[in-house]
Symmetry: D3
């Protein structure tokens, strides 16, 4: 499928594009949004969810970007790693922080498989929350 640029966008798509640009203070939207514009409903829902949940809340914005990046690494989504790596840097992540994040993600994947391999039963003290 081909990306949809601002000029070729329907009014409905254009309204989402404009809100992304205004909210993020950017001149143009990323490729992700241009491709997603092939499904205007999903474009609108995805942007509405991200704007809301990734905006202010009980976790700070950088923590949320780091969590996003951790999931993207685990799924090996090339676009997502590039996009959320850039956003994490923009929100203050240093190279040292990212390298440490990579270690945590790798260790989590390692101990996940150890727990799965041994079928470790959940300790009583860890239950019930």
């Amino acid at each position: 499928m081909q990306p949809i640029s601002h000029e070729n966008a329907s009014p409905r798509v254009r309204a989402v594009f404009d809100d992304i640009k205004k909210t993020r203070g950017v001149e143009d939207v990323n490729n992700f949004w241009k491709y997603l514009a092939n499904e205007p409903r999903m474009l609108a829902h995805t942007w509405a969810s991200l704007k809301d949940v990734m905006g202010s809340g009980s976790l700070d914005p950088l923590t949320k970007e780091l969590v996003y990046l951790a999931v993207s690494i685990t799924n090996d989504c090339a676009y997502c790693k590039a996009s959320h790596g850039a956003q994490a840097r923009a929100r203050g992540a240093s190279e040292e922080m990212l390298a440490e994040l990579y270690s945590v993600v790798a260790l989590a994947n390692m101990t996940n498989r150890l727990a799965m391999a041994y079928d470790v039963p959940v300790d009583e003290a860890l239950k019930g929350e």
Copy 2:
């Protein structure tokens, strides 16, 4: 495979158990470590890595636990979700923060698949770091 308790542990395993208990200030180690003791080399390496990387560094300890939990949710590791959910709470995560984390993890998995489905090419501006 069966878990190995402190009494049945070899001196090598016991030394790791003792260090975990001392470092974490707990009376006994969790099931995870007792099962992993079936492979004393891996027990030692896993503890050494976690103690080092999850200890002080450029990311704060709570952020690291949240990243760990995000990976465990994505892999659906039951033991890991229970264990790192508890550790995140112990380090100050509120229920509100965890619920927001779950949303970020879910949104990341959603947009990951959208980027994969459309095979979105990485924007020039996102390359090169």
Copy 3:
């Protein structure tokens, strides 16, 4: 490993290639089959299973291709996304249908992680089938 062309194929491999070409009405088999020919047993089993299950049955052929594509997106298999995207189009899927499929796949991955994160217990009414 290198692909095996018709000329270099053993009679056993050639027989499978011929059946694929005849069944699908194509001049040559796709790269997938040429690589898989390195393991003639698996080539034969894979083709036999696909021919049988993807052929007539209780689900219509287009639905089966869409399901195949959904799995390939979730696993992010580049070759499989290209191949089954093409087959879905060949069986009548419009661009609009594919874009809607991508949304469903993305939403499924999102809600899967929400159910995993909250460890939602299965409702009584959903059990027992």
Copy 4:
């Protein structure tokens, strides 16, 4: 985290619960929604997306449920398999159709790994859409 019932729900959560019940013609919402109510924003976004995308569109509702189920099997989400299996049956899927779906999902996971193992390059004829 604990599920939130209708009585304990905030007006914002209650409005979503009411819309789910009305749209689906059910007496009470499933556990999934009661747990998700711990994050009212995500509850609202998830329901809005599902209602819109899983409703009328270019793919028929049963096909969309089957795609949803295929993703849930690939991710092995226990709750999701139960929930979307039930919804597929409610929309007309016979046991025979579901058993055939399971075969397609299994074959897709098999050929996905074969394509990944051999790193099969995409055929020229499959490119460019």
Copy 5:
């Protein structure tokens, strides 16, 4: 879906059950086959592939069971871990060997995510086979 026992099986299913019993020297087939019998085509194809590929070949049978188990751990398939753990033990795997296998699987998952996180380019010397 419900399992299909020998008594309730069609002649086609019964023939596969009989061949499994004879080939493996067991009194009854495992649950896996009884459930899969809901799709007689897939039952026949799965058994034919496994009998052929897991039988004699260029890799010894124990190695193949260990590989099977490694994949099942990575996918966290509870049934498959139990079934192929038992088969690996039946073919000579000691508890020590299995514990070492678990370590290799865990390390592979760890380094996989490190390579994915850093997007490590393939070394020239590793290319071209």
Copy 6:
């Protein structure tokens, strides 16, 4: 992030590089280690674990490489497939053995999803180890 060469490495990183080169009898370390050197702690832990677990033990080195490769295929880690494919060949794997391995990995991913789809309960005889 950029790779760190021997010249630019800190003494701590250089010591690990030197031990890799000596242990493996190679002139230079692979890209994987040069990128990982951005996190000197993780570099040291990863190498220590791999050197220990992938060295002598109860499983022979080739079996361990094949297991490593099987996990890397299941995760579709491009770098890891190239690297551990090369190491498997270096330890004696023939092309025929690798092609058979690919079949086993594919069949495991297929039967994993069948067991997940039918939610097959574990047979009594398979429990309790």
